[in-house]
């Protein structure tokens, strides 16, 4: 999952970035509003963390711009202003959550995960597509209640596919959500991850959980328990 952090205070920004990376996110950072707005509207990010008090372009303006462009990824705002007036204003502008500084990284990443699965209609922190179960908080995967050991990248690919179960995810999108912008990409890597995932999840080759649509991407095909399907 690719997250954008827009925060002008360097220590906080760096701290959040490194903590979120540790908990498995791909992180983009912006130090001011203008840069933040550019990344927020031009890059294929999955979720954004935006500080409200930014130089040049305020956090509120970024949110309004993002929503005006029809982008619907979840946005979490950070602020020192602990007033309902601000909360209401921000949430009405299109933000999805609101955190008052100081922020604890664990709380932030928990909120981000909750928002990500919620926007895909998941209400529990476990994605249950029998026989595959993926626990978002523990970052563990089970098949028939048996834990499967995955590498960090394999996990991220599976998480992304399962989160958007039923939807076609392009290879570029997967790459984008795995790597930061400036890293060298090799789209073959995705194919390798997919192949390994198929082997690990489907040892007998009977389940066929991941479907390849030639030229378009991949799709997670198993039926999932998803009470509030939005998309």
């Amino acid at each position: 999952m690719r997250v954008l952090i827009v925060e002008d205070k360097a220590p906080i920004r760096e701290q959040l970035a490194s903590d979120l990376k540790k908990s498995g996110f791909t992180v983009d950072v912006a130090a001011d509003g203008a840069q933040g707005l550019y990344i927020a509207t031009e890059y294929p990010i999955d979720i954004a963390v935006i500080d409200l008090g930014l130089p040049h372009v305020t956090g509120l303006e970024i949110i309004k711009n993002v929503r005006a462009k029809g982008l619907e990824y979840p946005i979490v705002t950070l602020t020192v202003r602990d007033r309902w007036e601000t909360k209401v204003e921000v949430l009405e502008a299109g933000a999805d959550d609101y955190l008052v500084k100081p922020i604890h990284s664990e709380e932030l990443s928990a909120r981000l995960r909750a928002l990500l699965r919620r926007t895909q209609g998941w209400t529990q922190s476990e994605l249950n597509c029998p026989p595959v179960r993926l626990n978002l908080t523990e970052q563990r995967v089970y098949v028939d209640d048996e834990e499967i050991t995955l590498t960090a990248y394999e996990y991220r690919v599976l998480e992304h596919l399962m989160m958007h179960a039923g939807q076609v995810i392009s290879k570029t999108h997967l790459t984008d959500s795995l790597y930061e912008e400036d890293t060298d990409r090799d789209s073959n890597v995705i194919e390798v991850f997919i192949r390994r995932l198929r082997q690990k999840l489907d040892k007998n080759d009977t389940l066929k959980p991941i479907e390849t649509l030639r030229g378009r991407g991949y799709r997670f095909t198993l039926d999932c328990h998803r009470p509030n399907t939005q998309k």
């Binding site: 205070k9 220590p11 906080i12 020192v80 202003r81 007033r83 007036e85 949430l91 609101y98």
Partner: protein, 487 residues
């Protein structure tokens, strides 16, 4: 009495009118009297002059010659000189030697008694001794009082008298040089003049009285008209006080415009002051909290990687910082609460509640519950909008957090307060001593960070505007927070 502008206006107007009318009346009376006496004087003088022309002295007595008798009669009748029954108008010649009337318009030969019954007598000595300033001019009329005959109980009466003194030798050519003195009197009673004038004065007095009443009525009417803008102004200021308006916007007469501008400026100043205060507090919050958050990031960061997280020094610093943050936010909330302020607009709480309800659905999106807003748009309360948002935000958030399926907000008017109930169907307040929840710092739900002060902040906001907050049991057996807010 002088408390109101209208009474001041009425009293001053009334005084001026009454004094003015009194002065005018006195002047008018003098003027009328002057004119009236002037008319009588000139009439008497001409009568005296003309009548004397008819009279001749023949055979030792005064008489009107045969030739002129007819003419003289007409003249006497025309001048009403023969009607002496009331001693009103008459003419006679008084002989100073004989001390009797020797000729009159009524009869020539009169004894003393009938003369006194027909005519008023005057102080002839005085007339006779009066030095003649202009010897050959026509007689001068002047007012004088009659001299009642001795022994009678008549009072002296006012007369206008044209008296002419003349003297000649009764027996010319007999060697005697003695000249007899006569006084020719033409008199008209001015008793009637006085009465006429007082009649006239009476008429005028009635006219004046009526006009005073009319003027007063007019004044009263005009005072209503004049005072009307002031009353409108007062009404508008009261509207602002009641929070129905923000500024004085109506058009007023020129005299009220400076007051209007001053009041508007004052309101603007007051608002600006409040805004500046809030802004500077906000800045303070920002400038204090941001470095604190940064310090916290440093502490959690890689620079302290080698130090175990339960290092006593580090843990102490961290907990002190958390304490500092809590103090800052608590004091800021407290300071942000707007105190009772006359110039706050009353605003409907429904739009605000709807906004908050939408926000709450977003904040508590994991929960499946309903928020019912049973508040109409007439439910208004006079509080700062930010405070209202904070108050209802905190209370609704608590309700949403603790409810099972339902949060309900209802409002009704009770005398001069707006009563708002925030109900939920959760577990309700602890039965023992729920009021301690209203005190700051006691967390209702220790699991959720920073939310326990919600009720305490609400209490502060409500008590700052002289409202009241109660913790009750809702009809859904959950918690009910009842607010009494100023209208």
């Amino acid at each position: 009495m002088m408390g109101s502008l209208r009474s001041r206006q009425l009293v001053s107007g009334f005084t001026i009118i009454v004094v003015g009318i009194l002065i005018l009346g006195a002047m008018l009376r003098l003027n009328i009297y002057q004119r009236k006496t002037d008319a009588i004087i000139s009439e008497l003088e001409s009568t005296s002059y003309n009548l004397l022309g008819f009279i001749e002295f023949q055979d030792g007595k005064f008489q009107i010659s045969e030739d002129n008798r007819k003419e003289a009669e007409v003249f006497i009748n025309a001048r009403q000189l023969a009607q002496s029954n009331n001693k009103e108008r008459f003419a006679y010649i008084w002989s100073m030697d004989e001390q009797k009337v020797v000729w009159s318009t009524v009869d020539n030969e009169l004894d003393k008694e009938s003369a006194t019954s027909l005519f008023a007598l005057f102080n002839f000595e005085e007339i006779a001794n009066k030095p003649r300033t202009e010897p050959y001019t026509s007689p001068k009329a002047q007012s004088m009082d009659s001299v009642p005959p001795p022994g009678s109980n008549e009072a002296p009466a006012p007369y206008m008298v044209a008296a002419q003194k003349f003297a000649f030798n009764l027996t010319p050519g007999q060697g005697s040089d003695e000249r007899s003195e006569f006084i020719f009197i033409v008199a008209s009673s001015t008793k009637d003049v006085g009465r006429e004038i007082s009649d006239l004065i009476m008429v005028f007095a009635i006219l004046f009285f009526v006009s005073v009443i009319l003027i007063l009525i007019a004044q009263l009417a005009s005072s209503f008209w004049v005072v009307a803008p002031i009353r409108d102004f007062e009404e508008e200021v009261r509207d602002i006080e009641n929070g129905n308006k923000e500024l004085i916007t109506n058009e007023y007469p020129d005299e009220l415009v400076p007051i209007k501008n001053t009041i508007n400026a004052l309101i603007g100043h007051e608002k600006g002051q409040k805004q500046r205060y809030k802004d500077s507090l906000d800045d303070l919050a920002h400038s204090l909290k941001t470095p604190l958050a940064a310090i916290q990031s440093h502490l959690e960061g890689d620079h302290f990687h080698d130090i175990p997280p339960d290092h006593p020094g580090l843990a102490g610093v961290a907990s002190e910082m958390e304490y500092m943050q809590e103090i800052i936010s608590r004091q800021l909330r407290k300071a942000m609460v707007t105190t009772d302020n006359a110039i706050i607009m009353a605003q409907p709480i429904r739009p605000l509640l709807t906004r908050l309800a939408n926000t709450m659905k977003k904040v508590h999106r994991d929960k499946d519950f309903e928020i019912r807003i049973n508040v109409d748009e007439y439910s208004k309360c006079r509080m700062d909008s930010e405070d209202l948002m904070e108050l209802f935000g905190n209370l609704l958030n608590n309700a949403c957090k603790f409810c099972d399926k339902l949060v309900e907000v209802s409002a009704y008017r009770d005398n001069d307060m707006l009563v708002v109930d925030i109900d939920d169907d959760g577990m309700g307040f602890p039965s023992e001593n729920p009021s301690k929840l209203l005190k700051r710092g006691i967390r209702e739900d220790s699991k959720t960070e920073g939310q326990g002060i919600g009720l305490a902040v609400s209490t502060e906001i409500v008590s700052a505007v002289n409202g009241r907050i109660e913790l009750l049991v809702s009809p859904y057996v959950g918690a009910r927070v009842r607010l009494h807010l100023p209208v």
